[in-house]
Point group: C2
DNA sequence: AAATATAATTAGATATAGCTAAAAAAATAT
DNA sequence: ATATTTTTTTAGCTATATCTAATTATATTT
């Protein structure tokens, strides 16, 4: 099964929207995610359905097939490997990599990805803490919870961000929160869910619930 | 001026066909180079003409403009930098890099290329000995002659290949000829122009004129 | 100079990928 | 159970990039 760059992008979006959610993915949701119009999505769904990477019943949304999942994970693998390359080797900031990786992920060359993976020493996570699927599409899931859901006095380590937008990542940089940082919940405001955390036993950061819910940690 | 990947490929082809040749480039030649049909070329020439990167007079072929030349050299720069990356960092063989570079060269990110250039330590030549234009499109030309034009007993150093096809490069590997090798012309056959050369003062290679004309050297 | 051959362009298709506007189906509210 | 709203699809249009077949312009022969 060979997909165009555009088909790969849609399939990836469908995969992401499927994750967690148990029911079908809707046309409107895909359109929002892809920043296209629902009419364009309907057209693409017909094509992806014909290619067998999704199950598509008109008016009832789509479910990704096993084949589709595998292909989506291949694209995600490439995207994340390139992100690691950009940060580790080319000194990109973690908020600068997404758009370039969005292009690089479509380069067709299994050898390239195999060699890139080796060159990067088989990284397991991308710069945002997201796991890199292996060449068979297997992902090592790591239990992670938003720090908004941790209790006062609990400790943990930041392992990922849920929102990888440049704006959010720059906020992280600004307040000194980063992947790998040790954190402890100092206080939680009942009223609005905002949180005060201690980073690396020295720096205290106060953040809204919205922010806290986008920082993922493993408890310790 | 923003070009599509396809436009960049055509412009690069036109640039290459222009090099050396003093007159306009013909539709048929471009079609042959691009492996498309002349009809497709006519269409593209109209578009490139409208964008001002070529001067196009129907039925009389094209000449690349200054603007076009600059853009073509940017694409060539990217292509060659990626080739260096693939060979130097990812251990690709020099006959495996072209097709992948042909895709990578279209990634749009000035920062990426600037950083890649630095990461590779500002290489001046690609794995086939071709010069890498700088960010302003300036190329350091090196005098180089096909070894078919060298005289008996003359010495030199292989600096590039004219033909970068996988087939030719694998032939080079097979006979042990490589960029950087010291060569001396041992014999030339008057009848058909074939040549015997000594590589690195130890290995003698006999080759047809066709082959010899595709190996470029600087005399010493 | 006219006939012929070659080269290049145009006309008309196809395929991808996007859009707006209209129509139809499904979901929700009365 | 209807009516209304929301969602989704279809129809029709635009743009890119390719093709084949037909046409036209230029170049070469005779
Ligand atoms: Mn993408
Ligand atoms: Mn990422
Ligand atoms: Mn290319
Ligand atoms: Mn090269």
């Amino acid at each position: 099964m060979k997909l165009t760059a555009s088909e790969e992008n849609y399939l990836k979006a469908i995969y992401h929207l499927s994750e967690g959610a148990s029911k079908s993915v809707s046309t409107n949701d895909i359109a929002a995610e892809m920043k296209t119009k629902p009419a364009s999505v309907s057209d693409m769904l017909r094509k992806l359905g014909e290619k067998g990477v999704i199950n598509y019943r008109k008016y009832y949304g789509v479910n990704i097939t096993q084949e589709g999942k595998k292909l989506a994970l291949q694209t995600i693998r490439k995207h994340r490997l390139w992100e690691v390359f950009l940060v580790e080797k080319l000194n990109f900031a973690w908020d600068e990599v997404h758009d370039v990786a969005e292009e690089l992920e479509h380069i067709q060359s299994p050898l390239l990805i195999q060699r890139l993976d080796a060159f990067l020493n088989y990284p397991k996570f991308d710069p945002h803490g997201d796991p890199i699927p292996d060449e068979f599409g297997d992902v090592k899931a790591r239990p992670r919870i938003p720090i908004s859901e941790m209790e006062i006095d609990q400790s943990g380590q930041i392992v990922a961000v849920k929102d990888s937008s440049a704006a959010f990542l720059r906020y992280m940089d600004k307040v000194g929160a980063y992947i790998g940082a040790r954190v402890k919940i100092l206080d939680k405001v009942e009223f609005d869910g905002s949180v005060e955390i201690l980073v690396d036993q020295k720096k205290s950061i106060f953040m809204s619930k919205d922010v806290a819910s986008n920082i993922l940690a493993i408890q310790s």
